[in-house]
Symmetry: D2
Subunit: 336 residues, 4 copies
Amino acid sequence: MIIVMNPTSTPENLEKVQQKILSMGLSYHLSKGASRTIVGVIGDKKVIADLQMNAFEGVEKTVRITEKYKLVSREFKPENTIVDVGGVKIGGPVPVVMAGPCAVESMEQLLEAAKAVKAGGAQFLRGGAFKPRTSPYDFQGLAEEGLQMLRKAGDETGLKVVTEIVDVNAVDLICKYADVLQVGARNMQNFQLLKAVGKAKKPVLLKRGLSATITEWLNAAEYIMSEGNDDVIFCERGIRTYETFTRNTLDLSAVAAIKELSHLPIIVDPSHGTGRWQMVRPMARAAIAAGADGLMIEVHPHPEMALSDGDQSLTPENFRQVMDEVHRIAAVMGRA
Amino acid sequence: MIIVMNPTSTPENLEKVQQKILSMGLSYHLSKGASRTIVGVIGDKKVIADLQMNAFEGVEKTVRITEKYKLVSREFKPENTIVDVGGVKIGGPVPVVMAGPCAVESMEQLLEAAKAVKAGGAQFLRGGAFKPRTSPYDFQGLAEEGLQMLRKAGDETGLKVVTEIVDVNAVDLICKYADVLQVGARNMQNFQLLKAVGKAKKPVLLKRGLSATITEWLNAAEYIMSEGNDDVIFCERGIRTYETFTRNTLDLSAVAAIKELSHLPIIVDPSHGTGRWQMVRPMARAAIAAGADGLMIEVHPHPEMALSDGDQSLTPENFRQVMDEVHRIAAVMGRA
Amino acid sequence: MIIVMNPTSTPENLEKVQQKILSMGLSYHLSKGASRTIVGVIGDKKVIADLQMNAFEGVEKTVRITEKYKLVSREFKPENTIVDVGGVKIGGPVPVVMAGPCAVESMEQLLEAAKAVKAGGAQFLRGGAFKPRTSPYDFQGLAEEGLQMLRKAGDETGLKVVTEIVDVNAVDLICKYADVLQVGARNMQNFQLLKAVGKAKKPVLLKRGLSATITEWLNAAEYIMSEGNDDVIFCERGIRTYETFTRNTLDLSAVAAIKELSHLPIIVDPSHGTGRWQMVRPMARAAIAAGADGLMIEVHPHPEMALSDGDQSLTPENFRQVMDEVHRIAAVMGRA
Amino acid sequence: MIIVMNPTSTPENLEKVQQKILSMGLSYHLSKGASRTIVGVIGDKKVIADLQMNAFEGVEKTVRITEKYKLVSREFKPENTIVDVGGVKIGGPVPVVMAGPCAVESMEQLLEAAKAVKAGGAQFLRGGAFKPRTSPYDFQGLAEEGLQMLRKAGDETGLKVVTEIVDVNAVDLICKYADVLQVGARNMQNFQLLKAVGKAKKPVLLKRGLSATITEWLNAAEYIMSEGNDDVIFCERGIRTYETFTRNTLDLSAVAAIKELSHLPIIVDPSHGTGRWQMVRPMARAAIAAGADGLMIEVHPHPEMALSDGDQSLTPENFRQVMDEVHRIAAVMGRA
């Protein structure tokens, strides 16, 4: 941590700052410039992380030099992590695709979707059994019945199953049916849930919060890893900005940022990221070109009949076109 | 809902849209302009709320006219709700003040803070026993021990107790010690938690999410009320913007917006809203002048020793000055 | 400037960084921690301001300690600046009010507005003769004819005149008619215009850009002052956020920030800041309570007939109510 | 326009709204729902564009159905516009690349950069002679001397020249030396400048404003086209969000949005869009995969010696690698 003293601060102010640092078992370097004295704090990173120096008189501002996360960082583990889901590898050479309807509505709908995404080349079936909805009056999902359908449709088509967990008490239930647990954007800082999936024996797909910084996202993953679960996959799904033409602003530079700062894999969800089915195709291509390890795409056999997110769901036919283009981009990237 | 047809849409496109509307038990008005046909959907608000028409061919865009929340709306209940917490009224003529340390650290610290805020004129003691922290390595709170201290300090000083709940399984535990349950910004769309506190028999203080719209915030309150709990208090605590000088951007226009759209009371937290103790005083004054029903302020006997949020905590002396000015503004507003 | 070296950086990387610093006539302090070496650069602030060190190999990040602006800073001039506009003082004990229609539409409309705002207690008549509009097909203002009307209405009612300048070539023209030159939000970083008004002999009202940081705003004022014009008044008018209920998010904490960092006065525009006339009253009160030196308010004799911004304009009757409440808040603040 | 009447509005309120509409020469459709009456306004788009109905009593809100821009819209001109710059086509099958230093510093530096970008496959040399800088104390460019160098370097290497215009009085001067006039992000709503370049006989590259919506950007282009200049090229360069890891958030979905709404070409600037040279490569690939018609990239022979934007400039060697990958993505897209 760097502490910048105010130009009008007194020697007594500085003395108190120095005492506090020493009292925490840390040491410091002083650097006196023309108008400001700067105190560089040295010592145990975790102790420094707890320092709060702005309340001291004479302190103009403080700057944190190192982040608190460790296990998720590339500094800690330089080589890429590959998450193995029953033989399907996420973060390896070949990009993966998770596709399916926003919400599980019926066995018939789900199976039709599963067959379509399998035919298109997806390795994972996605679908929500518990839906976190803005309004209490929106469709909230089929619960365990939906989980059973997901497992059945996955087994019939040979697809792995990924589904969202919203309840800290439902870990065992969902682990019974799913291959990957998804933590949604609205729960990215639901720390109880992060700790709970950190104790689970299944990989976790961690969506970026609606307005989460890269640093907060990495810290959320650290919550999971610090409980012993190393299989975390990031998923960029758009952030909240002032723009209203798209539902969210898909931040593809987050792919490059995560690759630089962490060893964990990252996939991209262009369906939620844009909120418009017409934009899924170009953004899916762009995500793979940016270096993403995979995609999550909403596909519904009949989008206009969907109970949620119909606006951003692809038809099976459109999905096939997207997959065709994605494969060609992946080939250029040496990843197909 | 208003459906705007694309200028290049066909009569068949329109026909399909009309059929879908009728199939949902709704009706419509057609309005044909020079370049666009507009379909106004009429009927049951909740059925319309589920309509998803952008996936239909020929639809340019859709516009929602009414929001989904009902119980929280001023349209539903025109007169102001006053939440009575054991005789202390929130939303009535006199603004309330909730003050205390960010986190409960020890009985000594808490009691010193409690006496100071009581002397300054606060009616509520605030303090966290379970802290939702960005990093798993930050201080996470004293848990039940912290709750016991809060109750004890509250009883000794005659202050009501408000504290944050982060775990859906902790409702009974916290209700045992606290007078008001606080749902924090990061959990504003943790719908499981909203439903759980909706079933509790204690008032709920609902902080605005870091990037929540007014509409999402109202819908979050609707989750609580739709479970039977009518005692909801909003708390504006700053939103996330591009500005970095302040920790968040305190949105005082939210006070006026909530007063227009809802009958529920709203208070303001200038400590988290700015992240700088120097700014708490002017923003506390401004909040009351904007019409807020109260304030939540971080006070620590020794901010420079605080385990969290020391940067934004007031000393007891500064708190007294703030309270003095707040009372004078409240008097002008006819609220003291 | 603080330079943080990467944990994997080599001694040669550090050597090159040190050489660059010395080659600029600067010096440095080294601080070697457990995992990172930190280089503190010392010397001439303006030379340091030009340093760009992230392109050097082995550099993890750089942190700027001091800002580039000087003349506008409170560090440079500790006491408040009072801008004297022909006897009316901005930044002194009494808050000023600038009011009038968004655009000058006719002599009749303007005079009616001028009389109303004068009666309400305003000291300045505002009105646009040149309107910067999002679309080229929107009403663009009456140009010089509008300026003449403003001067005439100002003289008849004893009000000072403030109006917006959008053209670098129009400084002389506008100075002929106006008492204060307004630089609008969309031109806050139109540096040619800033330099031009910096050479003018009239005070400048500098609105905050739609997404300008506090630092960028201070630097924009520095452009004006560095040309020799010391009479700059800041005007907070709302920033762009994700929230759509209000037209902008009025950032009242900017008042406290500017007061801390600069000696220049600051006023607040709750009309543009909210975009809703119903919100002008509470936000005007809050602005004064936050410590603003004045207000800018849109008043139109017949808002529903306004050619622009009717949605956010007050009627003369509403304006009187706002002024009454504002005066009472100002009195409590010791400013009336 | 759709006008939503408040549930508590009176028949007199509605009557006044209807009268206003008729008095403007427009007509309307009424649609009475269970709780709200909705008025659909029909008639001349430009007249409707000027309607401001929120100031009327009883109006809850208004919704605009059509945008004001026309000439730039795909509805007006369905086929793609190809801008021909002396034989180099922007918006045609082959993506173009504009590259060079942020600022022109010397003939030597510029020529070295020009040769490098030519060798890498660029068709345009970019470089700033007039630099809009946040602080008045930053390097402001070499002015006409810089323009002369640009022309000379362009002619020697066979590159077209694109450079930024910041002064409404400099159109003739810059047209003398440059092939394309660039309007920078900070001037996107400098309407005087837009009108001036609209009258010029050279193509205009219009960068997106720091917080401009897609609609505002299209309207800015409409200003240029409505003055008679049809050769407008959009350039996405990142928008301002809360994220601080990148300098801006590059919004690649803007490429798809512009392609849907307009016939004009669009290129992407990943250098300003990210502010980090390490991210230029993945974002350049992603931009082409998203469907962009070209790229603008900062290249400096010695980034660590650059007077501005060294942090985001590529070395010639890195530029060659980017170009190699970009060409392979373009080939897959059928555009090489």
